[in-house]
Structure formats: structure tokens, C-alpha cells
Amino acid sequence: MNGDLCQLLDDHLTGTLRREDASRFAEHLLQCEDCRQAVAMQAELDRLLCDGADEQPGAMLLARIERQIRLSRRRRWLVTSSMTAAAVLLVATAAVVWQAGERPEGNVRSVVQQPPVEPQGQIVDSDTPKTGETDVEPPVEPRSPVIVQFASESRVIGKPIPTQSPNVSIVWVYPEYVSHDEQEPTEAPPLP
């Protein structure tokens, strides 16, 4: 057995011999019975190992793995859905809080954009001039005229008194005094 070249046996079996060593070892194999036997035995062992190491897992292994994968998918879906819902809720909350913080400015803008409001209690129609267009008060007609009747032979003098309100009319009524001797009429004290 050539010691130097026999050292190359393992590299030869592994296939890691350099090219120049491979040719030298090939020549050595022709002369070295031990190395030839080792190479043959190793080839046989490799074949036997490949044939023998054919154990199969239990039939349930794949089923267990697939079940685990399904569970994992479902768990991932739940986590993703929960996170999405939480994110949406967070965004909605943030939007509400943001709008609440912006409210004063928004109110001012809305008031400004609103049309001017007519004073309450005022009747508005197309014939009524708008406030600010004129300062003339519209004429007010008395709701129910007051009728005072006197005896047919009575003679009175009516004297209107100016008032602050256009709805109130005051008229002083003076009876006309006629003397039997046909004197000129004189003013009498006013009636209540």
C-alpha cells in the first residue's frame, strides 16, 4: 500500500481530488488492492444507505401539518382583520377629535355664510320694504272704528289729539252749546 497515495482515498471518494492527483490516484488504484477494496465497499455502502434510508413518516404527519397550516392561516386572518378594524376605529376617532378641535372656526364660517335673519315678529312679504331700505313707517289703519252716536239734535265739535302711537286715536268731543237767545257758541268743558 502506497501510503502517500492512499491518503488521497477519502478525497477520491468525496470527489474533491485535484486534477493532477486524480490521475495519479487512478494509476494507484490499479496497483493497490486495499484502496480498490475500500472504493468498492464504499460504493456498495452508499448504495445500501440510499436504499435502506427510505423510512416514511406516519400517514398522519401531512394531515397534521396541513391542519396546522389552516389554523395558522385562520389565526393570521383574524389578526389582520382585528388590526384593520382597530386601524379604522383609530382613524375615525382621530377624525372626530380633529373635527371637534376645528369647531369654533367652522361655526364662525357658517354664521358668516348664513343670510341675514329678519327680526322676529315682523311680517315680511314682497310688498314690505326691507329693513334699511327706508325709514318711513307704513300707515296703520284702525282695526275697529269707534262710532259715537249723539242725539240727532246734538251738535258737537270733534278735535283730534296727536298721540305717540299710530294705533291710538284720541278725539276730544265738545258739545256745541246753543243759547236760547242765539248767542255765539262757546266751548264747554270736555267730556270724558
Partner: protein, 171 residues
């Protein structure tokens, strides 16, 4: 993913069996490895390296399990700290044919030699791929492979001689 499982589950299981030496433990390792592979499938960019990638995950799973359970055997062993196993009686009895006997002998090798020999001879991985699977370097793989093969040849030769002697003793 179903293709991945169907094509490689058996190989992952066999490699796990070489590492653990126990059928149930190997199934647990294979299951965990394939689940991890499914979770990390986006990281697999080279489908040609799928098997080496899966075996790497299986090796990591086994290392994690060893670390967690502190199952490292106390037997003094090679530098990598893995222990060898004696062939179990059941295995010896059931190893009827030569192939089974060869596998039984392989299972008596120290763990690292066993793993390297299996990956090289049965899975056809290169030294570099084995180094990646086992998280070691190419020279260590090569050294372990040489030791494993030398020991296997010795064991195989002894087993054959024992068989011959046994047959000669029979009347």
C-alpha cells in the same frame, strides 16, 4: 405548499430520524420544520435549493429542541458534542436485509458524522450545502465525512466477517 410538503416531507422526516434516532421525535421535528418553512416560504428565492433549505430548518429545529430540553447526551464524544447510539435490539432484529443493516450501522455513528454521511450519500448534497445545513464549515464537513466513511467501512467489514463466522459455526 402542498407540493412542497408532498415532495420533501419524507426527506425531512428521514433527516430528522437520522438526527433524533426516534420515530416520534423525528415526526415532531419534521412537522415543526415544515411549518416553519411554510411561514418563511417567502424567503425561498431559489427553488433548486429547496431541499437543502428545508433540511437546514430541520437541523435548526432539532438544535432548538436540544437547547430547550437540554437533551444533549452526556457521553463523551467528538468535538461537536453529539453522541453516537448503539443499535437498538429492535433495530438489530428487524434489520433483515443488507440495506437495513447498513442504515443500522450508520445510526451508530456519532451524530455529526451520521448527519454528514446521510446528507452526502443519501441526499446528494455538496460539502458546501451540508456546511450550510449544519451551520458549520466545509472543512469540518469534509473531516466528518471522511471519519464517517472510514468507520462505516470498518463496521461493515466487521459485520460481514461476523456473519461469515456465524454461518460457519452453524451445523
Amino acid at each position: 405548499m402542498n407540493d412542497l410538503l408532498e415532495h420533501h416531507a419524507a426527506a425531512v422526516f428521514r433527516f430528522a430520524l437520522r438526527m433524533t434516532g426516534d420515530h416520534h421525535a423525528a415526526e415532531d421535528v419534521a412537522q415543526e420544520a415544515l411549518l416553519r418553512a411554510w411561514r418563511k416560504r417567502s424567503g425561498l428565492d431559489d427553488t433548486r435549493a429547496t431541499r437543502a433549505w428545508l433540511l437546514t430548518i430541520a437541523a435548526n429545529v432539532w438544535r432548538d429542541q436540544l437547547r430547550r430540553a437540554k437533551l444533549r447526551r452526556s457521553e463523551s464524544l467528538p468535538a461537536d458534542g453529539h453522541a453516537s447510539r448503539e443499535p437498538s435490539p429492535l433495530r438489530t432484529v428487524t434489520a433483515r436485509d443488507e440495506a437495513s443493516r447498513a442504515v443500522a450501522l450508520m445510526d451508530t455513528l456519532p451524530a455529526r458524522q451520521r448527519e454528514v454521511l446521510y446528507l452526502f450519500s443519501c441526499e446528494g448534497l455538496s460539502l458546501e450545502e451540508i456546511a450550510a445545513v449544519l451551520a458549520t464549515n466545509r472543512d469540518a464537513v469534509k473531516a466528518n465525512l471522511h471519519l464517517a466513511r472510514k468507520r462505516m467501512r470498518s463496521l461493515w467489514s466487521n459485520a460481514k466477517n461476523e456473519t461469515i463466522r456465524t454461518n460457519q459455526k452453524r451445523p
